[in-house]
């Protein structure tokens, strides 16, 4: 049998779901939540740390919505698939970086079942969505039997495949704030084949002020370490600069000097560092073109 055995639980409401998570956690079970399974089942098929219990969200009502919040952000529920988010006009309008990243996530078949929240909760450091969430300063809506809380993206990704979610907590939705005016975004990665995890990737955005200089930027690397990495030194180096290739080359040097990427069988540290610089120059050029309408 390909998959290891587990105890299976299928709640019908979010309240039941977190009660089950609480009871199982108290009993010392190693419990995982199943949304689309495109990350979880792959790990299980390779028999890496299989869970004792799985809680299936497929019957839980109310987790499959894309909605707009009071602040104008887009809220993506736990069961919303990558594909649904990819074709959503609300996501494209409010969070264009999410829309830019989704075609890079796996392949169409993975995106049919895999979910945005599932990818975020799985927190593979080479995945696109965690880096996008960090770059966009997304907020995570979390439910347990005892409380509801919101976690900022900056606090969410704690380590390799590790988030700030406690074992009895359910990620019910993620909210991406409305993108600022005069902002261009880009998501770029280097991978051997289409759909592979990135050897190095960059989620970037650039905002232009009234004087046509850079008023803010986001530069978040993925695939370079245990979590996605925001490179604030490079972001700060761009402030007040005219968005041109000289500025981007300068920022690329700052970025490359600021990071110590991992080395593994996919790429050396030097390759990842060099690639990060290349992706910054490409990504920010692309983001700038989008602001000035040359490459919508």
């Amino acid at each position: 049998m390909k998959m290891p055995s587990f105890n299976y639980h299928r709640p019908e409401t979010a309240t039941e779901c977190v009660a089950v998570l609480r009871d199982l956690s108290r009993a010392g079970a190693d419990v995982k939540v199943l949304a689309g399974g495109q990350s979880l089942l792959g790990v299980m098929a390779l028999r890496l740390g299989p869970p004792s219990d799985i809680v299936d969200l497929s019957r839980v009502a109310g987790l499959d919505e894309i909605s707009i919040s009071e602040d104008g952000g887009v809220v993506i529920g736990a069961r919303v698939t990558h594909h649904r988010a990819e074709v959503s006009p609300e996501v494209a309008a409010v969070a264009p970086m999410v829309a830019a990243a989704l075609p890079l996530v796996g392949h169409r078949a993975i995106r049919s079942l895999g979910t945005v929240c599932g990818s975020l909760a799985h927190a593979d450091p080479a995945a696109e969505m965690p880096a996008v969430a960090l770059a966009c300063r997304a907020r995570f809506q979390v439910l347990s039997a005892s409380e509801t809380r919101t976690i900022d993206a900056a606090d969410f990704f704690v380590g390799y495949l590790e988030t700030a979610l406690k074992p009895d907590e359910l990620l019910v939705a993620v909210e991406f704030p409305q993108v600022a005016c005069r902002t261009g975004v880009s998501v770029d990665e280097l991978s051997r084949r289409h759909g592979d995890y990135a050897m190095v990737g960059l989620a970037s955005s650039l905002s232009i002020g009234p004087d046509e200089t850079i008023s803010s930027s986001a530069l978040v690397l993925f695939g370079t370490g245990a979590t996605p990495l925001r490179v604030t030194a490079a972001e700060e180096s761009l402030l007040g600069m005219t968005p041109d290739s000289e500025a981007f080359a300068m920022a690329a040097e700052v970025l490359m000097a600021a990071i110590t990427p991992t080395a593994d069988n996919h790429a050396s540290s030097a390759y990842r560092r060099h690639g990060a610089g290349v992706l910054l120059r490409r990504g920010l050029a692309s983001a700038t073109d989008k602001i000035y309408g040359e490459n919508p």
Binding site: Q38, S58, H107, R108, S112, L113
Partner: protein, 190 residues
């Protein structure tokens, strides 16, 4: 509490449609859709290559969307509709075309005429992926096709014959829509 709980090793009953036929089957929660299709339902057209979602040989359609049956638990398709390669010809409906004495989906005829496959281990996954691709985009460019099939691996062909076959499928369907008065194409050699 109405939470259904199934301890490890026990089974539960699921009801779904496979190739437009209602099916009820007892499965363990850990059974994959691929395993249930192949072993319990005898539908061995869906193949297992990598068993972790990368090669695409296991691709079926779930509620019309392409999906990796090796990365789907059977319990996840309770109440849903699954299309496998065995159901592709019938799914063509009145778009079916004749080839070599059989009624096939135009995609199947296209691959046969262009010799798209060699060993055909990858074929079921490619055909379902192509079905989904053409449903979403009936007139893709060669580059768009290349992008959309990048999740299916073939070790025999080098992919050009597959790209040619998909372009041919597009042409067959477009010709059919142009000649919509005709009942279907007669069998002929490529």
């Amino acid at each position: 509490m109405t939470t259904l709980s199934v301890p490890s090793g026990q089974r539960l009953s699921i009801s779904l449609k496979v190739n437009d036929e209602p099916v009820s089957v007892e499965v363990e929660p850990r059974d994959t859709l691929a395993g249930v299709l192949r072993t319990q339902l005898g539908l061995t057209g869906t193949h297992l290559g990598c068993e972790h979602g990368v090669c695409g040989a296991c691709t079926v359609a779930i509620d019309g969307a392409p999906a990796r049956s090796c990365l789907t638990l059977a319990v996840q398709v309770d109440g849903r509709e699954v299309l496998t390669i065995e159901g592709l010809a019938r799914a063509a409906g009145d778009e079916a075309v004749e080839f070599d004495g059989q009624m096939l989906h135009p995609i199947q005829k296209a691959f046969a005429e262009k010799l798209g496959f060699q060993c055909a281990f990858c074929a079921p996954g490619f055909l379902i992926t192509t079905l989904a691709l053409l449903d979403a985009n009936p007139a893709p460019t060669r580059d768009e096709i290349r992008e959309e099939i990048s999740g299916n691996l073939c070790r025999c062909t080098g992919y050009h014959s597959i790209l040619d076959s998909i372009e041919h499928a597009v042409a067959i369907r477009q010709a059919r829509h142009t000649n919509s008065a005709q009942p279907g194409e007669g069998a002929h050699n490529a």
